[in-house]
Symmetry: C2
Subunit: 275 residues, 2 copies
């Protein structure tokens, strides 16, 4: 991945930056398709909301859009990333009121490998939990050690993603994705009031399902829901929607609700209409 | 604070460093007294144990000791910091097995201001909670946004520290310190099996209390323990031991157990024997 640090020609980070010191910041990972960052407005909106919740000055983040476009250049597809930190400061957790946020943008022409969607993906259930903290719930902060630890649990190349529970055993998310499941005919995704990242593609799926008349609900999802779920799929900004066909030994079909949501996403340019 | 990045003459951090990207690393904050880093062996031991738990290669961390000594130079007192990250890597949470850890050392001749110990300190109870996660409990990781958010809750200069509870309401720690309280004649400190940082000075106090025949216990501490506590004090590597004389409206004396622990620490060169 190539990186630029806005306002710093050397393209490097000061060790005193609070992003390094404390993970005091946020990031966005953005799919580049047809030469353009997909859902850029949604990503910038979420980044601004995150800055507001953390008390980080957000005036400068719009300039990330032009910086990302510049990095994409003539590439058609790839992955872009925007990182914003609270900037540098004196020692200690208390931020200096005058701190100028650090803005970093990155781009790689690589996209995540595209497994044959018709076969779907295998998932596993991670031991590492997601800690509950309402103050940070929903945000894509730079505090991602839980996801790193969970991702270290498997090396099997055929396992695409690991599902994570919170400390009370509720399903929350994948290490890098949001979870949807169909249960008793209803599409569900874990409520993220206590922890988890409110993914951009998760939001798109919720909107599209409602527009399409699909019964959809954000709710607490005990892990047992995986046993009686009829369909399971994952979403994130890069992969769009991906059906799961196996979690541990349990197998799932790619069912009608998954197909209906996938068709609506395809109409927005995300993925293929036919799974 | 002055910083050095070992093996990087420019002294800067690569934006691809996982310390910035995910908070994928650990740190130590070390008091420099009489021209030497205090309890350096304990700090390096904890750092090594943390690396082992996170799966970060720890061979290089001993070199931080010489680097810190070099930065101290002729200064007598101050604060040193060691940061270790998993190093740079490709995009995604999964670490590359070949990653070389990044080692950063910092030093400032400033120490935290020394309030008149005899007056003790005022504390507050923070709204921001500490999330439970057994996988990271006890470690001083670079994921410190909870502490940052808690520290932003107050600006009153006479409030020295904020106490934090976990999501279930148990007392865990201060934003930058460990908590001790005396209840029914027994010295107690919150158990840190689910969250919190296992402070170096906390460990020293536990050892010294046991050596001194003081009844001491690590235990779950509901917030109500503050109501019937007879004495309260905080510890960290920089401040040593500091008695609390007020939390909200509740006042506490500087009592005999606090004084006994302080005297034992003073014999080790930490703080003054007489509070």
């Amino acid at each position: 991945m190539r990186w630029e640090v806005l306002g710093n020609a050397a393209g490097t980070i000061d060790p005193a930056d609070r992003g390094l010191q404390f993970g005091d910041g946020l990031f966005e990972t953005i799919a580049v398709r047809e030469g353009r960052p997909r859902f850029m407005d949604r990503h910038l909106e979420r980044l601004g909301q995150g800055c507001a919740r953390l008390g980080i000055r957000a005036e400068g983040i719009r300039s990330a859009e032009a910086a990302v476009s510049g990095m994409i250049g003539a590439e058609r597809t790839g992955t872009a990333k925007i990182i914003v930190t609270r900037g540098t400061g004196p020692r200690g957790y208390r931020p200096a009121g005058s701190a100028t946020p650090t803005l970093v943008v990155g781009f790689t022409p690589e996209s995540p490998p595209d497994p044959p969607a018709a076969r779907g993906m295998a998932l596993m259930l991670c031991r590492t939990r997601v800690g509950r903290n309402a103050a940070l719930a929903g945000l894509k902060t730079l505090n991602r050690l839980e996801q790193v630890m969970a991702r270290m649990e498997w090396n099997e190349p055929d396992v695409f993603e690991g599902l994570m529970r919170d400390e009370q055993g509720l399903l929350i998310c994948g290490t890098m994705s949001n979870l949807f499941l169909v249960r008793q005919g209803r599409l569900m995704t874990p409520a993220l009031a206590r922890c988890g990242v409110r993914g951009i593609m998760r939001g798109v799926v919720l909107e599209e399902a409602r527009r399409g008349g699909i019964d959809v609900q954000e709710a607490d999802c005990p892990v047992e829901f995986l046993d009686d779920a009829g369909e399971v799929f994952l979403t994130n900004a890069l992969i769009g929607l991906r059906p799961a066909v196996r979690i541990g030994e349990r197998r799932y079909p790619i069912g009608p609700v998954t197909r209906a949501v996938a068709a609506r996403l395809a109409a927005l340019g995300v993925g293929e209409a036919r799974l």
